[in-house]
Amino acid sequence: MTRKLPRKDVVIIGLGWTGSILANELTDESLDVVAIERGPWRNTATDFPVSYMQDELRYRIQHELFLQPSQSAVTFRNNTNQTALPVRNWGAFMLGNGVGGAGVHWNAETWRFLPSDFVLKSHVTERYGANFLPADMTIQDWGVTYDDLEPHYDAFEYLCGTSGTAGNLSGKIQDGGNPFEGARSRPYPTPAMKQGYGHTLFGEAAKQLGYKAFPQPSGNLSKGYTNPLGVTLGQCTFCGFCEWFGCANYAKASPQTTILPVLMRKSNFEVRTESEVTRINLDNTGKRATGVTYVDSSGEEFEQPADLVILCGFQLWNVQLLLLSGIGTPYNPQTGEGQIGRNFTHQTMSTALGFFDKDKYNFNPFVSAGSMGVCIDEFNGDNFDHGPLGFVGGGYIGQVQTNGRPIQTTAVPPGTPAWGPKWKQALKDNYLSTINSGGACHGSFQAYRDVYLDLDPTYKDRFGRPLLRLTIDLHDNELKMSAYLTDRWSEILQKMGAKQIVKQPRKGPYDVTQYQTSHLCGGAIMGDNPGNSALNRYLQSWDVPNLFVQGASAFPQNAGYNPTGTVAALAFWSAAAIRSQYLKNPGPLVHA
């Protein structure tokens, strides 16, 4: 028996970064907003307090802050000739859970995409010709430009207090910043973080090789900061427990440390936690959402009617919920038709380990932070000539080692036994003198016809709904790019003085057990017409105009950066369109 609740102006599904941003913007319009969140409420002092947060076993190994696969899983296969099987322990990516979403456990590397990333297809075609792209690559332009998003990137950085050095201020290139970045309207709100020895050494070596090194833009703050909402963040203490962990010091930008203190004070906002939305309801025309149905932790089912539905879940769950709700047309890889599930992408990560002379180098890797780092951008996007290389895309390269944690960060040279006294001795000899930058080459991931999401025909979740099926493999373009970037990174390690370098370029097939990043993208992409996208340029569903779908599920393909800055900029951009256009005249904001 479903209990029907009183109508709300807006229902938001998921209270992570995008849900918090949209809720805050729309409550400012005096709308009555409810957010429905699958996971629990999370607070700094009670859920990841300074007295026990630095527990690698609890959070990194046992995944305390993450969704448990028993609650909701996915199935995986490399290609359509295989039968997908359920993923029973997260590996290649981590799926957040609870208020704050992935914004609780991210590293806070806060990048903007390049202007050319938003017009990738037309840019590459113009520069290298239409035949340069592989036939099965389905990349496309976003329908939105860097200039459209610039004010919204700015809003997010000032919300977070992002620490960095500007490289391009209103078109004027700045010393010490990233000269390849799009023009920014003002400097970062706080100065760049201090860097560790290994990070500093990387910057010096890169400069000697002719590159322009710059500090990674960071949401681990270099100093205390009070944002425009009046919320204060603290200074990062370099404890090295960021990714997979919540920040105990209020020093990492997250919904908890930037928006929620203000949002939760508003009388026209309410969050219902431990409540999972099972479908978006449509009226009998199928063109209008009437609200959502959700189940609370006691198993009771509710219907929450609303005029406006904002889907703010993680990328995978956004796509699954659209498919389960019968919104849009499921993608068909045989015909290439249908939009929901199309252009699923991830990130092409690679690295090389650098072993240094222990008598000369001491990197103190435990003094660290999730977005501490020194980077170069010469090999990202189309900042370099791809003509002779035969691939598209790239990524930033950097010494972005985030931690020296004792379970995970224990690289030893090849040939060392995997356990016993010799392993211990090798670890002891190398722990302080190894550069172990997991995200050294942060490569893009282009879209392909045969990489997609759909509903699994066999496996079901605890509500009896089909699991989402991931069909994903690495293509030659990504493998070539990864090898190329890994070589460039290795050259810099060499210049830094490494005595032994162990290259780890990305190899196929795609392995769902090996951590890459949690940067899953696509599946409900934005574009300029309903024939090539699920959403218009304002993230509004082409099929159901009172539904907006936030998050990286809207990325047509993934660039060579961490996605959160762009996810948030799109959320502010979408919120601005809802506030300035949609509310005055509810209906499609772009006429197909």
Binding site: T46, S51, T232, G234, Y250
Partner: protein
């Protein structure tokens, strides 16, 4: 200060004997919006809701909050206009007398958990304005039996003697030697805001210890700190603006309100006008300190200080910093902080053992919280780190011993707030 109340109980309000109306009083007129608005403001200034609205209740002023006193429990009564269970049937004079004389409807004496010893300073016009406001709130039918005290404390006639000893009735008299601002501050602080209710210690009968005015008081697991102008343990180093800002926002660059004061800021002072807050601050800053307190810092080479320094570095320094300066506007400074140097370490122990949530206000919404350390630190370790904080960076206060930490741990474990 939510449950600040101390000694005995409140409004009885049972019998229905009428009391002759005092002639000449300004009548309440429901159409006089100015009066209702003023009454609303004064009701907030008096923080009436702290006791008369049950925690988490959506029925404002319908009573039900249990007030702990050293003598037993008292339940704050229903003061909505309900004629049977509230004060709807009370005459205005009965209402005013309850506020300023501490007498209930039938003439019975209230227990001074109701701060009539302070409210007696309130002018009749202001009291009537509060009544005018209370007349406008929704009547809630909610029977409250306020009196939970054991015999013989429950005998209200006993209050006659108590009042003789400790109650000086009479409206506020301005001091012509002081500024209008100072006098406005005095009127509020000594009257509706009833600061001394928490910040002045009580004698064994629960009366204000006039010899120790504003020198702090131990209540409900906290020590409401000294607010005299003592520079080490009072507010001598706070500027008037800082103090006014603290009352407005719950925060300064160096301090944060939590616990009972957090509630006070949340429900009352954050809603007051800037000029009233500045007036209160001006008045409080002018309250003399007792003879200078010459506490000496414990030497840093004492074993307890060395142990405390190590624990501080491991558990505290990430937020409060090695130099004890904290993070401005986020994590309170401990260096030079009066609150950690109080003679009674109850608040410091409370925060270490149980953690604390700082208040979130509109101008300072962050509301950062301190986690609990009771599960990770032993009594010896708590005593050491607290002693260190009380004596590091030029701070000076008595050492805390493990048995004090243990006692605080045990009594806090019993609290359900």
């Amino acid at each position: 200060m939510r449950k600040r109340l101390l000694v005995l109980a409140l409004l009885a309000g049972v019998a229905s004997l009428g009391v002759a109306r005092v002639a000449g009083a300004e009548a309440i007129d429901a159409q006089k919006f100015d009066q209702v608005e003023k009454g609303h403001y004064l009701t907030v200034a008096g923080d009436c809701a702290a006791c008369h609205t049950a925690p988490g209740s959506s029925h404002d002023f319908a009573g039900g909050r249990v007030i702990e006193t050293p003598f037993g429990k008292i339940i704050a009564p229903n003061i909505t206009p309900d004629r049977v269970t509230g004060i709807g049937a009370w005459t205005d004079d009965e209402f005013v007398n309850a506020m300023v004389k501490g007498t209930g409807r039938n003439g019975a004496h209230l227990f001074p958990a109701m701060p009539y010893t302070y409210y007696t300073k309130v002018t009749r016009d202001d009291a009537l304005a509060i009544r005018a406001f209370l007349n406008t709130i929704p009547a809630v039918h909610n029977t409250v039996e306020p009196d939970q005290l054991p015999f013989p404390l429950s005998i209200r006639a006993g209050m006659i003697g108590w009042n003789t000893l400790f109650f000086t009735p009479g409206a506020f008299k301005p001091n012509p030697d002081k500024s209008a601002e100072w006098n406005r501050g005095a009127y509020l602080a000594e009257g509706l805001a009833h600061c001394g209710m928490c910040h002045t210690s009580k004698n064994f009968l629960g009366g204000d210890k006039t010899s120790a005015r504003y020198e702090g008081y131990d209540l409900q697991g906290w020590f409401a700190p000294n607010i005299t102008s003592d520079k080490r343990i009072g507010i001598g180093n706070w500027s008037v603006d800082e103090l006014a800002d603290y009352l407005k926002t719950g925060h300064t660059q160096a301090a944060a309100a939590s616990g009972l004061m957090g509630d006070e800021v949340d429900l009352s002072t954050s809603h007051l006008r800037d000029e009233d807050l500045k007036a209160i601050a001006t008045y409080l800053k002018d309250q003399s300190a007792p003879s200078p307190n010459q506490a000496q810092s414990l030497p840093s080479d004492q074993p307890i200080m060395k142990a405390g320094a190590q624990i501080y570095a491991d558990e505290c320094a990430a937020c409060h910093k090695s130099d004890g300066k904290g993070e401005p506007g986020l994590f309170p400074a401990l260096r030079g902080a009066a609150v950690v140097q109080q003679a009674d370490p109850a608040s410091l122990l409370h925060v270490v053992i149980r953690g604390a949530q700082s208040v979130s206000t509109k101008p300072a919404p962050t509301g950062a919280a301190m986690p609990a350390f009771s599960w990770v630190l032993t009594d010896d370790q708590i005593a050491a780190v607290v002693t260190y904080i009380r004596n590091a960076w030029g701070n000076a206060a008595s050492a805390v011993v493990a048995s004090e930490a243990g006692k605080a741990r045990a009594s806090l474990a019993e609290r359900n707030d």
